[in-house]
Symmetry: C2
Subunit: 229 residues, 2 copies
């Protein structure tokens, strides 16, 4: 599968995580010895639902999807570079409740769980920060549950497009970075309906679509669909 290497220096890492600044240099260096860097190609699995976590996964480069497997997959959310893929399994139940796969070429730092927990215990400020991150990640899911259980197709797709524009790509014009099927899985609808509504938005001048390239022309209308359901 994946190319494996050891970190040169976490202190000088260009993809350094914001969380690290609360640790002492000595502790940061200790991470180097308990960390493996793995590169994944588009489509490869980073972890599988049902297995147990032995490492904390920090996403240095790329984008991944977090999804629940089944007859049809359900994408819970995307994670972009600079975030932990998963912190829950570090402190809570060790079993992954979802699978993770690379959306493009990614680089993941796998840090030994026991080691990281040990550091957290010794550095309350650091643990505090991690806890804050875990706490806030729940808010996304409240919104998600609300969205999919109350809104209908147009509203849900608008939600997803806004999510991609604001949370993931930070721009109004972006490459989808996924198939229509995945877009549907992220919006809890059938692939055919995702396509249909995309076409509708295009016909109404809300979006400009060229293959996977999407440009949001009328953000306010998208927002209205999102708000009104």
């Amino acid at each position: 599968m994946a190319k494996i290497s050891k970190p040169q220096s976490c202190l000088q890492c260009p993809y350094k995580w914001k969380y690290l600044n609360l640790l002492k240099d000595k502790d940061i260096e200790s991470i180097q010895n308990n960390c493996t860097i793995i590169n994944f190609k588009k489509g490869e699995n980073i972890c599988k639902q049902g297995t147990d976590a032995t490492h904390a996964l920090y996403l240095a480069k790329g984008t991944v999807k977090l999804y629940i497997e089944g007859k049809k997959n359900l994408i819970l959310k995307l994670i972009k570079a600079g975030e932990y893929i998963d912190l829950q399994t570090l402190f809570g139940d060790k079993t992954y409740k979802y699978s993770v796969a690379a959306m493009n070429d990614t680089m993941v730092c796998m840090i030994n769980s026991d080691h990281l927990r040990g550091l957290a215990k010794k550095n309350p400020a650091y643990l505090f920060d991690l806890t804050k991150t875990i706490s806030d990640s729940g808010n996304y899911f409240y919104k998600k549950i609300n969205d999919i259980s109350r809104k209908q197709l147009r509203g849900r797709l608008a939600d997803t497009l806004i999510y991609l524009a604001e949370e993931i790509y930070n721009t109004q014009e972006f490459d989808l970075g996924m198939t229509r099927k995945e877009l549907a899985e992220l919006s809890s609808m059938s692939m055919e309906n995702a396509v249909r509504i995309l076409s509708e938005f295009k016909a109404d001048g809300v979006l400009e679509i060229k293959g996977k390239r999407i440009k949001i022309l009328k953000y306010d209308i998208l927002k209205k669909f999102s708000d009104l359901g």
Copy 2:
């Protein structure tokens, strides 16, 4: 609204929370001085979506629902005595993303947030435990998102009934403790359909229903509906 009092002694509290045993007696006593006990009657709001949290809420007695307001409400989950109602706002974003209301007569310990955070910072083992609890609470929501986005009516209602029997009441025969409308809001469906499927389950001998009293007769069939969607 509600009857207010001060705790006599958290050390001897009959509703004492499991989390307290990691704190020193001195610290537990300090909680007493930063804690207000409030009693709520059925239906009363304990907190409202959109407001800011200033206290951690520990549910000593009763059951509460955590719900998102809208034209139709959406019940995210129930919480029973002996659990925190909310820990996310203690460490993460302070704004409540949902409202909380009493399902029956309840008793809530409201502990000053700053004080509790201070204790957590000084007691890594305690903070560790709280973090573990927060981490695990996410798992319920993964399941919830999966359930409501993939299963249809019968499967979703079966999920809710199993949830009530196993997680909330810990018995196969229980009082619903809520209206049919609330049961529907907990299962993401219309009230009419919740009633219809209850009748169906009753006709098929899966449930025995007398008003709000529900007895699960054929758990395996309920489970099958839950599994197959």
